[in-house]
Amino acid sequence: MLEILGKTNFDFMGKRKIAFIFSGIMVLFGLIALVQISRGAANLGIDFAGGTAVQLKFDQAIRIEEARKALESNGLSNAELQEFGQDNKLLVRIKASTTIEEKTAERVMAVFSKEFPNNKFVVDASTEIGPTIGKKLQEDALIAIVISFAGIIMYIAARFELRFGVAAALATFHDVLAVLGAFYLLDKEITLLVVTALLTLAGYSLTDTVVVFDRIRENLRIRRRDSEESMINNAVNQVLSRTIVTSLTVVLVLIPLTLAGGEVLHDFSLALLSGVIFGTYSSVFVASPLLLLWPGASGRMMKRN
C-alpha cells in the first residue's frame, strides 16, 4: 500500500487560533473586493462593465509601449494592453465607462494598420458589449450565485444537523471569498468566467468538508469517552490522506489547464486551482474547528443520535 501519509496524529484543533486569524484576513480581503465590486470600483471584466476587447495576432513582435503610444496619439488613451508573448498576440481592452463611442473595435484596428503598416495582423477575436448587456450579465450572475448558495445551504441543512450545516456553509463562503480577495489583491479582472469558477468552487470545495463531517458524525456514534476536541481531531486525521488525494487529483488536472489551456481559460483555471487549495485547507482548519465554536459545545459531549 502506497500512502502519502501513514497514520497521523496532528493537533489541528490546537492550531485553530492561527488558522482563524489567517482565514479572517483572507475573508476580509474578499469582503473588501465584494464591496468594491458592488461600488463599481473593482477591476470588472468588460462582460460586466461593458466595453470593447480586441485581440490581434501580429506577424512580428510588437512592443507594448509602442502600441500604447500609438493608441494614445489616436485618442484611445484609456486602453488596457496585455500581451501574450510567444504568439505576438496583443489584447486591447477599453471599458465602456470611459468611452461612449461606437465602433471602438474598428478604431483600434484602424490605428494599428495605420501606425504599424509593416507589421500585418489578423483579428483573433473582438468583443463589444453594450452597458445594458453588461447590466443583464451582472444580474444573471448574481441570481446564479444566490441560487447556488441557497441550494447548497438547503441541501447541507437537510443532510446534516444545523451546526454542521452552518460550519460547512461558512467554510464555503470562506473559500470563495479567499479566492476573490486574492484576485482583488492581484488586480485580476473579475470576468464572467472567474465568477463561474468561483461558483464551481463553491460546489466542489464542499466535497472535502463533507468527507470530514461524515467521519465526525460516524465517530460521534462510536467513541463516547473522548472530548469533543480530540474526537474531531481524530476524525480529521483519519481522513487526512483522502482529503489530500482527492484535492491532488483535481490539482493535477488544473495545472496543465492553467499552463497550457490558453489565455481564455487561464484566469478561470487559476481561480479554481487556488480555490481547491483553499478548500482543502478550510475543510481541515476552518470547517472542523468551527464546530467547536458552537455555543455550549466546547469540551462537552455533543448530541449523539
Binding site: M1, L2, I4, K57, D87, E102, E106, V123, D124, A125, S126, T127, E128, I129, G130, T132, L137, D140, A141, I143, A144, I147, S148, G151, I152, Y155, I156, L192, L193, T196, L199, T200, A202, G203, Y204, L206, T207, V210, V211, V239, S241, R242, V245, T246, L248, T249, V250, V251, L252, V253, L254, P256, L257, L259, A260, G261, G262, V264, L265, F268
Partner: protein, 547 residues
C-alpha cells in the same frame, strides 16, 4: 454470489450507445464510413461553439421609436401628395413630434376640407386642442404605435434572415430574444466585418429630386475630404430652404483610395422608395466598373415612368441610407421598369448592395448591443490547447492512480475512460454545443471523477486494515463511501444547474459538461468499477487486493 453478467451487459450496451452517438461528432471517421452505416447512425453530434469554430454572435436592438417616426414621415409624404391631388393648397405638412403631424394652411376655409382627409388615415386621430383656425394636428393612435413597433422587429428579423440566406452561411441562427432584441449567430464566417455591415445596413433606397432652383444660392464647395462633412453642414445651417436638405455623394479616388464627398441640395420629398423593387443584380459597365441594375415591380415601374417623364432634364438623386450614390440628369422618360445605380464601388460592394436591395430595407436602424467575433484561427488554437491540456491532465491522473493504487488504480482508470466516453456520447446524443469552458468542464470531470474512486478505495483500505476479508472489505468500502460521494456530487450539481439556467453561451457549455460528467460519474464509479472487483472476487477466494 453476486451475478456480474447482467451488469457487464449493461456496461457493454452503454459503451456501444456512446460510440454510436459520438461517431457523427468525429468527422474524419464518420466520413470514412460506408453509406449504409451512415444511414443507420444518427447524423448529428456535438456542435462546436462559436468560440471554437469561429464566427459571430451579435445581439441587436431595433430602434423602435425611429420606426414610428419613419411611419409618420411616410404618412406626411403621402398626405402632401394627396393635398396636391385634391388641389388643397396647404402651407406645410410636417412631423412635429414622434407621433404627430401638423398641417398648416393660410386659408382658414380649407380646414373642414382637409379634416375630411382624415378618413383616409384611419390610424390617426385629430387633437382638437392642439389645432387652430389655420392648423390641424393629427396624432398616431396608441394601438398603431404598438403595431408598428411589433412589426418593426418582425420585419427586421425577416429582412436579416433574407440577407444572411443570400450571403451564404451554414447553419445561421436569427431569432428574437425578449421583446425587442434580435440574436444573430453566424458560425464559421470568414469575413466577419463584411457580414456585419451587410446585416446592419438599413438599406433604405430612395429617389429624390435635386433642388436646382436653389442650388446656385448655396454656393457649395465642389469636392471636400470626408472629414469636412460636419463643417459644411454647420456652415450652411439655417440657410437650407424649407423642405430641402443637404446630402453628400460619396466618391473614392481610384488612384489614392481617398474618400471624398460632394454636397447637394436635395428636396426632402421622396419620389419613390426601394420597396417597389422586384430585383437587383450586379452588372459590369463598359469601363469594367460594376453597377447594380434594379428592376421595379409593375406599380413601381409605372411610377418611375411617370416621375421621369415629368422631370426630364432635371437631376434625380439615388439615395441609400441618406447617402447619394449618383445624381444623374434624367434624359428621357424611362419606361420598362429598369434603372441603374452607379457609383465608385468594387464588385464585392456592388454585390452586397444588390443583396441588401433584394432583401429589402430594415424598418428602422439597428443598434448592436453585444458583438462577439472569434476569428477562425483563434478557434483552432483554442481547440488545440484544449485537447493538449485535456490529454496532459488525463495522463497525469491515470499515472497517479496506477502508482498510488496499483491494480485498483488501473480499474479506476478504466472507469475514468468509461466516464469520458459516456460523457462524449451523452453530449452527442443531446446535440450539445461544446465551448472552450466546456472543454474545461471535461478536464474537471477527469479530476473530480476519480475522486469517487479515491474515496471508495480509501474506505476499502480502512476495512482491510481492520482485518476484514477482501470481498467483505470491498463491499463495505463501496457501501460506506456511497452517501459521502452522493453528498459531494449533489453540491457540485446544484451550482452546475444554476450556471446552466443563468449562464450564457460558453458558460452554459461549461455547465452542461460539468453536470453530465458528474452525473455519469456516479454510474461509472459504482457500477463500472464494482463489477470488475466482483469479477476478481468471483472465482477462488482472493486473499490480497492490490490497492
Amino acid at each position: 454470489m453476486k451475478k456480474v453478467g447482467g451488469r457487464f451487459a449493461l456496461l457493454a450496451l452503454v459503451v456501444v450507445l456512446s460510440v454510436v452517438f459520438f461517431l457523427p461528432s468525429y468527422k474524419p471517421l464518420y466520413q470514412a464510413l460506408p453509406d449504409w452505416a451512415r444511414k443507420i447512425l444518427p447524423d448529428k453530434g456535438i456542435t462546436l461553439g462559436l468560440d471554437l469554430q469561429g464566427g459571430i454572435h451579435m445581439v441587436m436592438e431595433v430602434d423602435e421609436d425611429r420606426a414610428v417616426e419613419i411611419a409618420v414621415e411616410r404618412s406626411v409624404n403621402s398626405l402632401q401628395d394627396l393635398l396636391v391631388d385634391k388641389k388643397l393648397p396647404a402651407e406645410s405638412v410636417k412631423r412635429t413630434a414622434a407621433n404627430q403631424v401638423t398641417i398648416q394652411f393660410a386659408n382658414a376655409e380649407l380646414k373642414s376640407q382637409i379634416q375630411k382627409l382624415l378618413d383616409e388615415y384611419p390610424t390617426f386621430f385629430e387633437v382638437d386642442a392642439a389645432g387652430s383656425a389655420n392648423s390641424l394636428v393629427w396624432e398616431l393612435r396608441e394601438t398603431e404605435i404598438k403595431r408598428i413597433k411589433d412589426s418593426a422587429i418582425n420585419q427586421a428579423l425577416e429582412t436579416i434572415r433574407n440577407r444572411i440566406d443570400q450571403f451564404g452561411v451554414s447553419e445561421p441562427l436569427v431569432q428574437r430574444q425578449g421583446l425587442k432584441q434580435i440574436v444573430v449567430q453566424l458560425p464559421g464566417v470568414k469575413e466577419p466585418k463584411r457580414a456585419k455591415d451587410l446585416i446592419k445596413e438599413t438599406a433604405l433606397l430612395e429617389f429624390k429630386m435635386l433642388d436646382e432652383d436653389n442650388q446656385m444660392k448655396m454656393d457649395f464647395p465642389a469636392r471636400i475630404p470626408k472629414e469636412k462633412e460636419a463643417e459644411v453642414l454647420a456652415q450652411f445651417q439655417g440657410k437650407v430652404p424649407e423642405g430641402d436638405q443637404i446630402l453628400f455623394e460619396h466618391q473614392i479616388d481610384k488612384d489614392t483610395g481617398r474618400e471624398f464627398r460632394t454636397p447637394y441640395l436635395v428636396k426632402k420629398r421622396v419620389m419613390l422608395t426601394g420597396d417597389v423593387l422586384s430585383d437587383a443584380r450586379v452588372s459590369i459597365g463598359e469601363f469594367n466598373d460594376p453597377y447594380v441594375s434594379i428592376t421595379f415591380d409593375g406599380k413601381g415601374g409605372r411610377e418611375f415612368e411617370r416621375i421621369t417623364g415629368e422631370n426630364i432634364k432635371k437631376r434625380m438623386a439615388v439615395v441609400l441610407d441618406n447617402t447619394i450614390y449618383s445624381a444623374p440628369v434624367i434624359q428621357d422618360r424611362i419606361s420598362g421598369g429598369r434603372a441603374q445605380i452607379t457609383g465608385t464601388f468594387s464588385t464585392q460592394e456592388a454585390n452586397d448592395l444588390a443583396i441588401v436591395l433584394r432583401a429589402g430595407a430594415l424598418p428602422a436602424p439597428l443598434k448592436i448591443i453585444q458583438d462577439l467575433t472569434v476569428g477562425p484561427s483563434l478557434g483552432q488554437d483554442s481547440i488545440d490547447q484544449g485537447v493538449k491540456s485535456t490529454l496532459i491532465a488525463g495522463l497525469l491522473v491515470v499515472v497517479f492512480m496506477m502508482v498510488y493504487y496499483r491494480l485498483s488504480g488501473v480499474i479506476a482508470d478504466f472507469a475514468l475512460l468509461l466516464n469520458l466516453l459516456c460523457l462524449l456520447g451523452a453530449l452527442s446524443a443531446l446535440n450539445a454545443t461544446l465551448t472552450l469552458p466546456g472543454i474545461a468542464g471535461i478536464v474537471l470531470t477527469i479530476g473530480m471523477g476519480v475522486d469517487s474512486n479515491v474515496l471508495i478505495f480509501e474506505r476499502i483500505r480502512e476495512e482491510l486494515r481492520a482485518g476484514k476479508a477482501v470481498r467483505l472489505a470491498v463491499d463495505g468500502g463501496y457501501d460506506k463511501a456511497l452517501l459521502t460521494i452522493i453528498d459531494a456530487h449533489v453540491t457540485t450539481l446544484i451550482t452546475g444547474v444554476a450556471l446552466f439556467l443563468f449562464g450564457t453561451g460558453p458558460i452554459k457549455g461549461f455547465a452542461v459538461t460539468l453536470c453530465l460528467g458528474i452525473a455519469i460519474n456516479l454510474f461509472t464509479a459504482f457500477v463500472g468499477t464494482k463489477v470488475v472487483f466482483d469479477l476478481l472476487n468471483q472465482g477462488k477466494k482472493v486473499d490480497t487486493l492490490s490497492i
